[in-house]
């Protein structure tokens, strides 16, 4: 009996019983630390927003995707109506040392400040047209502000003949979004000590949404520099 029991060093991954991943027979990639910390490549990203799912149903891809394993949605993502991926990204950028609750409360307070300021303006406006122009939804203001703050080109340092030229070049969507949020936050941090983050951030967002303020100026300066350095644009391909 004893010789029938083989004690071999063949790695068989151990997962909880109702686990859904296929069993990977053979030796695992990471030999020393056998527990993987993220989902393997073939797990698809989940689609949990109602609108996105409706779109999938229309294009009849839902059943195809349903056959694949899916990653679970993150802890801060819900299917509720008031969940916005841009707001989540912003909260992540505001967060320091992993304090998500604090970051979230700061962003929510700044939205509240925006809302109060806009409602005040709304009540001060007399004509219905003026009232209609005022945007009361803080998320829409955030979207507008980020749109106005996104640069369209970026300067890349390229070295030719010993001199580093700043060459204007294209920018990806992700990088431009990142730069917009970063500039907004940098502008907020240059504040007086007495003014709290939510208030300053609210002011910055309102300014950016109106195409005024520090952030938009910075973007316009960047564009001006790019325009000025147009002559070097061909260095990208030399």
């Amino acid at each position: 009996m004893a010789n029938n029991i083989r004690i071999l060093n063949k790695c068989i991954p151990w997962y909880p019983s109702s686990y859904l991943l296929p069993r990977i027979s053979g030796l695992l990639q990471a030999r020393e630390y056998s527990r993987p910390t993220s989902f393997p490549d073939y797990f698809q990203n989940p689609v949990f927003r109602k609108e996105d799912q409706a779109k999938l149903i229309e294009s009849s891809e839902l059943s195809k995707i349903a056959a694949l394993p899916m990653k679970p949605p993150a802890v801060y993502e819900t299917s509720s109506v008031y969940h916005d991926p841009l707001v989540n990204k912003l909260i992540n950028h505001v967060m320091e040392m992993g304090k998500k609750q604090l970051a979230r409360s700061l962003v929510e307070k700044s939205f509240e400040n925006i809302k109060r300021a806009q409602i005040e303006r709304y009540h001060l406006a007399t004509t219905p047209e003026a009232k209609a122009k005022i945007e009361l939804d803080p998320k829409k203001i955030l979207h507008k502000a980020i749109e106005n703050a996104k640069p369209l080109l970026q300067l890349q340092p390229i070295k030719r003949g010993g001199i580093t030229y700043q060459v204007p070049g294209p920018i990806t969507e992700k990088r431009s979004l990142f730069l917009a949020i970063k500039w907004l936050l940098e502008a907020t941090y240059e504040k007086e000590r007495t003014v709290h983050f939510p208030k300053q951030f609210a002011w910055e967002l309102l300014d950016a949404a109106n195409n005024t303020g520090k952030v938009v100026k910075r973007k316009q300066d960047l564009h001006r520099l790019c325009e000025a350095n147009r002559a070097y644009a061909h260095y990208r391909w030399q």
């Binding site: 083989r6 997962y15 859904l20 053979g26 056998s34 527990r35 689609v47 899916m70």
Partner: protein, 406 residues
């Protein structure tokens, strides 16, 4: 007749063989030797002796000496076969013994039962699951060996034997051939200006390429990383061609389907409690370090009880949102009651565990369409990610000490 042939052969041999000094030695045919042997020591061969000593090419080759390598290989393979037969025999007997020990029927003792029995009889505290006691059929345990690659003459069967990895290179060769064929097919279609079969399509979304280890097992050869990457490149190239469906079988051989429909099978039936309400309990709801169980009761009013407290058990909004996520997604928030007991972990872990538990329990109260939607939303996937350990020599799990250029 024979004499005639001998004379004939004698003549032929004389004509064919070059005049070398050693040509006498080449004559195996004793009759012919006798003819040329003028020494008196030659024994007189009678016709019977000659007949007996006559051979064709088969006997010639049979009497030829087998090379040492071939001999060794034959011995080894014989040994291995016997060994495997013995192991199989012992395994079967051992299985029956085990079944008897566990008090079950030896005839219907499956491998799963074997595993369970071993885990029960030999509880092991070893951390690595691969180091624990194991009992499997010998084919799984011992690595496969290749059959005879060359015949007794030492000639290899496979035309790519001398590459050292014949099966791998044959595979690459096949793939390249298929690509060429598809190119020709494409050219033909363009020339004829015909359209290909519109129904032919290749569905690759529910499968992945075999991993390196699996490929090694299939080919029974070791492969380097570079070779595996080349294999993947070639297959991707093959798949990217427009009429790849023509070589579907070839491609399917090297793709592994992903098993993912488990969420739709085995949906448990709700049990009924004293008041006649249907309820489902999901045990083992895990996330990070939180463990618990969730009971979903229907019909209900939307009451949520966590460890005896209301939803206010979670102070922060994010955790509450997570708990409500599956209910709002399936719009069952007013129709079911939830009771959960959770311990361990922090707010994120606990709310994640409850979220999974609710989604898993709601499967029994929701129609198949909604279950599919829940799966696409990722609510039904168990989150098995755990905290990555800190490695020695580094400050954290991934963080490395400051990089110094020199």
């Amino acid at each position: 007749m024979y004499f005639n042939t001998i004379k004939m052969s004698h003549v032929i041999i004389k004509q064919l063989l070059p005049h070398t000094k050693s040509f006498c030695v080449k004559f195996r045919n004793p009759a012919v030797c006798n003819v040329f042997n003028y020494s008196t020591k030659v024994t007189t061969t009678s016709s019977e002796n000659a007949l007996e000593n006559l051979t064709d090419w088969e006997t010639l080759s049979r009497k030829k000496k087998i090379s040492k390598a071939m001999k060794a290989y034959l011995e080894r393979s014989q040994e291995h076969d016997e060994f495997m037969k013995r192991q199989q025999f012992e395994y079967n007997i051992g299985k029956r013994h085990l079944a008897n020990m566990m008090g079950e029927d030896p005839e219907t003792f499956t491998q799963k039962d074997v595993d369970r029995a071993i885990e029960y009889l030999f509880p092991s505290g070893i951390y690595d699951p691969a180091a624990r006691p194991l009992m499997k059929p010998p084919e799984e345990v011992f690595p496969a060996r290749k059959a005879a690659e060359f015949d007794e003459a030492g000639r290899p069967h496979h035309f790519l034997f001398y590459t050292g990895k014949p099966s791998y290179f044959k595979l690459m060769y096949d793939a390249a051939e298929n690509i060429q064929q598809l190119y020709n097919f494409q050219d033909k279609i363009i020339r004829k200006k015909a359209t290909a079969d519109p129904n032919g399509s290749l569905n690759l979304s529910s499968s992945v390429w075999l991993t390196k280890d699996q490929l090694e097992q299939v080919l029974v050869e070791t492969i380097t990383d570079l070779e595996y990457n080349n294999f993947k490149l070639v297959m991707q190239r093959l798949v990217s061609l427009p009429h790849a469906y023509k070589v579907k079988e070839f491609i399917e051989k090297y793709r592994k389907p992903l098993a993912s429909q488990k969420f739709a099978l085995e949906i448990p039936k709700p049990s009924y409690d004293a008041e006649g309400r249907a309820f489902i309990t999901t045990y083992e709801c895990l996330r990070k370090k939180a463990r618990g169980d969730v009971t979903v009761r229907a019909p209900g009013t939307g009451k949520i009880t966590i460890n005896g407290k209301d939803l206010t058990y979670f102070e922060d909004v994010q955790s509450r949102e997570q708990v409500m996520f599956p209910l709002i997604f399936t719009e069952m928030q007013d129709r079911v009651d939830i009771e959960c007991n959770i311990e361990g972990g922090g707010p994120s872990g606990q709310s994640g565990a409850i979220r999974w538990g609710i989604a898993w329990g709601l499967r029994s109260f929701v129609d198949a369409d909604m279950i599919q939607k829940m799966h696409v939303a990722g609510l039904l996937t168990r989150d098995f990610r755990r905290r990555e350990r800190k490695k020695p020599g580094q400050p954290g799990a991934r963080k490395k000490p400051t990089w110094k250029k020199r």
